[in-house]
């Protein structure tokens, strides 16, 4: 007995898992029975009658600016009409130059983010070179597609992917549908329950070649609007000190936007909107 299988050739971690440890992936080859109670939007009576709801993450968005791109998400997860978590993280570093944010069923979302991180690092170490931006985006599409059986049961996982493309010297944004369809956005995008509201805000104020500061302010304003229109999206929680998270990708790599900076932007937005 060999401690390692030595014959593998693939550089993909998820391929390796599916050929050697298929039970570790959430891919269900055979259909699972319809999970009525996992429906995305149960009616009010359903949500009282059927307790085993699962947490869902809500609004995430991405936005391009002159030096790269930013990606942001609010911090709330909901189970039907209940708050499930106030501090959930929806924006994840994928590698040194890219990040993903995920909306949908929280469990599979977090799992996908972790698998994608491992995937990129695994490839880099095996091949001795990083995947190209398009390579990463396509791989993520395949991973979303692998979740299709779960998605049609209601366990939807929808990521947004941003990456700084070192070759093109620009930030890039990719959105996905549940079939793994991959679409590049050239300006901004938002998805999740408050996605449409966030998109509306960005549509009004978005400018090409915004500065990074302007982009951060617009992203936070968009999340704020989404939280006002969509009950499943959280605004800044001033009492508990919980704010949306933002990561930015630039030529220097990926970086978190400091919480203090986010707080300051919100203070300005709130002062502007306060009814005298």
């Amino acid at each position: 007995m060999c401690a390692f299988p030595l014959e593998d050739q693939t550089s993909s971690f998820s391929e390796y898992l599916s050929s050697h440890y298929p039970h570790l992936l959430q891919v269900q080859k055979s259909g699972i029975p319809p999970l009525q109670f996992l429906k995305a939007e149960p009616t009010l009576s359903e949500s009282f009658e059927r307790p085993p709801l699962i947490p869902r993450g809500t609004t995430v968005l991405a936005l391009r600016h002159g030096d790269g791109a930013i990606i942001a998400g609010d911090r709330m997860a909901t189970e039907g009409f209940q708050v499930s978590a106030r501090r959930i993280e929806k924006v994840y570093k994928a590698d040194e130059y890219s990040a993903i944010a995920i909306a949908g069923a929280a469990g599979p979302c977090i799992e996908l983010a972790r698998l994608f991180q491992t995937e990129l690092e695994h490839y880099e170490k095996l091949e001795g070179a990083k995947l190209s931006t398009d390579g990463k985006a396509n791989k993520l599409g395949q991973m979303v597609k692998a979740n299709l059986a779960m998605a049609v049961q209601g366990l939807i996982v929808i990521p947004i992917f941003v990456s700084y493309d070192l070759k093109r010297q620009e930030g890039r944004i990719f959105k996905y549908d549940i079939t793994g369809g991959r679409y590049e956005e050239t300006e901004y995008y938002a998805t999740g329950s408050g996605g449409k509201d966030a998109r509306n805000t960005m549509k009004k104020s978005y400018k090409r070649d915004m500065t990074e500061d302007e982009a951060v302010a617009l992203a936070l304003e968009a999340l704020y609007d989404a939280s006002e229109e969509d009950v499943a999206t959280a605004g800044p929680d001033l009492i508990r000190g919980i704010y949306p998270t933002i990561k930015m990708v630039t030529r220097q790599g990926i970086q978190d936007v400091d919480e203090q900076r986010i707080k300051q932007v919100y203070n300005i937005i709130i002062e502007r909107r306060r009814v005298a």
Partner: protein, 230 residues
């Protein structure tokens, strides 16, 4: 009918060992050496194909001998580490467990396969928060040696070890350690070694997240220049 003649197990093992050693002795050497904030790996390797590689956050690998064979081992090690980190958590991936897996694989291959693997490998783990560094040398038959301070694999390793035992004065700065390694490699081959003929990488405690760093030729030249000044 010709009867298959009997060969004693000792003879078979001896022959295999001799075969493997011969193969390894043909190759160039790799040195692993502790310095003040990590472990430096220096390979006498002018080719673009790497002998030193990152395995995980705190773990690096180096292989000497037949390229195709240690390259396979390197990949298997990365799979082992990434799988473990994915199943459990990043901090649960340890150099010791990886070294054990390698030892098992090589041991099994040596006793069961007709042709033994002509490789000698290193698994180094960076110690953090009072934990000492780990340097494991694993030979073609699966024997595993827990080394302290420095070690050498590949051809002429014995001569290099004798030289380093005399000159290694404990973990100093990275430039001193690199200088000593180059002296050792140059002395063994009787050739002056320049930056282009070297592959240098380190596990450095001062780095964030993944500790592995590969030095590009410009950085190697820079370090060599610095070590000349001091």
């Amino acid at each position: 009918m010709v009867l298959p003649y009997y060969v004693s197990p000792e003879q078979i093992m001896q022959d295999k060992a001799e075969y493997a050693k011969k193969g390894i002795a043909k190759g160039r050497s790799i040195i692993a050496m502790e310095y003040s904030s990590g472990i430096l790996l220096v390979a006498d390797n002018p080719s673009a194909l790497n002998k030193i590689s990152e395995i995980y956050d705190n773990i690096a690998f180096a292989g000497a001998g037949r390229y195709s064979e240690f390259e396979n081992l390197r990949k298997a090690g990365i799979r082992h580490a990434d799988l473990k980190g994915y199943l459990y958590s990043r901090e649960d991936v340890t150099a010791r467990s990886l070294a054990n897996a390698y030892s098992q694989s090589l041991g099994t291959s040596f006793s069961q396969d007709v042709k033994p693997l002509e490789v000698e490998i290193l698994v180094v783990g960076l110690g953090e928060q009072d934990h000492p560094n780990e340097i494991y040398r694993i030979t073609f038959d699966g024997s595993i040696y827990d080394e302290k301070g420095f070690t050498v694999i590949g051809g002429r390793s014995e001569a290099l070890i004798i030289f380093l035992k005399e000159h290694y004065k404990g973990a100093s700065g990275v430039t001193e350690v690199l200088k000593l390694s180059i002296e050792a490699l140059g002395g063994a081959t009787n050739q002056a070694i320049n930056a282009n003929g070297l592959e240098v990488a380190a596990l450095d405690r001062t780095r964030q997240g993944r500790k592995f760093k590969r030095f590009i030729p410009e950085e190697i030249s820079e370090l060599i220049k610095k070590s000349g000044e001091s």
